[in-house]
C-alpha cells in the first residue's frame, strides 16, 4: 500500500509540471495591401544555433507551392508530417491571421527564434520575412515584415 501511494505521488509530481508547462499563445499576423493573391505563410522555430526545431503553422493548403517558402522548405524538405494538424487557409492581402496555439513554456527565453517565410503567386518569394526571438519581454511588441507582412505580434 505504501509503495502504491509513493508511486501515485511520484507520478502526480511528474505529471503536474508537465501540464503547467504550456500556455496558450496568440500570434497575430497582419498583411500589407500588396495587391496579389492570398499569401502562403510558414511559421517555424529555430534554436539558438539556428537549427530547425519545428513548425508552428502553415497558412496555405497546396503543397505544390511550399517550395516557395524556401527557408522552411530547405529545412523540412516540404514534409507534410511537419505541418499535419497545423495547416489552414492562405491569407489575403490586407487581412489579419490570428492563431492561438498551446505552446511549451520552454520555448520562451531559451534562445529560440520564430521565423515566417512568405510567398505569393507570381510575386517575389520572401523567406525569413519575420525573425523574432521568443522572449517573455517581447510579447505584445509588434514586429514589421519586409515585404508582405505589415506587423507580427505574439502574446
Amino acid at each position: 500500500m505504501k509503495s502504491l501511494l509513493a508511486t501515485l505521488a511520484l507520478t502526480t509530481a511528474l505529471t503536474l509540471p508537465g501540464l503547467a508547462a504550456a500556455r496558450p499563445v496568440t500570434m497575430t499576423t497582419t498583411l500589407t495591401q500588396y495587391g496579389g493573391d492570398g499569401a502562403y505563410l510558414a511559421l517555424y522555430v529555430t534554436d539558438a544555433a539556428g537549427a530547425y526545431v519545428g513548425s508552428l503553422w502553415m497558412a496555405g493548403e497546396k503543397s505544390k507551392y511550399y517550395e516557395h517558402l524556401s527557408d522552411w522548405y530547405r529545412a523540412t524538405g516540404g514534409d507534410p508530417a511537419e505541418i499535419n494538424g497545423i495547416t489552414g487557409a492562405s491569407v489575403g492581402a490586407g487581412r489579419t491571421l490570428e492563431i492561438t496555439l498551446d505552446l511549451a513554456d520552454a520555448l520562451f527565453d531559451a534562445g529560440y527564434t520564430l521565423h515566417i517565410d512568405a510567398a505569393v503567386e507570381e510575386m517575389r518569394d520572401s523567406p525569413n520575412e519575420i525573425a523574432v526571438p521568443l522572449t517573455a519581454a517581447g510579447a505584445g511588441t509588434a514586429v514589421p515584415g519586409r515585404r508582405y507582412i505589415a506587423s507580427f505580434t505574439y502574446e
Binding site: 503543397s63 516540404g78 494538424g85 511549451a104
Partner: protein, 108 residues
C-alpha cells in the same frame, strides 16, 4: 398614268436588284452558329459568330478545366502529399506544443 407605271417599275427593279445578293447569302450553307454578313455593296463580308448554346458549353468546359487546374496538386514533389488541416489531427510531436487546446486560427 404611264409615267406612274414607269416609276413603279423602276423602283421595283432597284429593290429587287438589292435583294438578290442578300437572299443569295441566306441561301448559302454557313457553319452552325454563324450569320452571313452582307456589305453595303451587296458582297458578303466576314462571317459573324453569334452566341449559341455551343459557346456556353465551351465556356463551361474552360471554367471547369481551370477549376480542375486549381484543385489538383499534381505538381507537388514526388512522395509529398497534402498536410492534414488543423482540427483533423493533433499537431506534430515536435516538442513545441502542449497538450492543451487544439490550434485555432481566425482570419479577419
Amino acid at each position: 398614268m404611264k409615267s406612274t407605271f414607269a416609276v413603279l417599275l423602276a423602283t421595283t427593279a432597284v429593290v429587287g436588284a438589292l435583294a438578290i445578293p442578300t437572299l443569295d447569302a441566306f441561301a448559302r450553307d454557313t457553319p452552325e452558329g454563324t450569320w452571313p454578313a452582307v456589305g453595303a455593296d451587296g458582297t458578303s463580308g466576314p462571317e459573324v459568330r453569334l452566341a449559341t448554346r455551343d459557346d456556353d458549353r465551351h465556356r463551361d468546359r474552360i471554367r471547369r478545366d481551370h477549376h480542375d487546374d486549381d484543385d489538383d496538386d499534381d505538381n507537388a514533389p514526388a512522395g509529398r502529399g497534402t498536410p492534414a488541416p488543423a482540427g483533423t489531427v493533433a499537431p506534430p510531436t515536435n516538442g513545441l506544443f502542449g497538450t492543451g487546446a487544439p490550434p485555432k486560427a481566425v482570419t479577419n
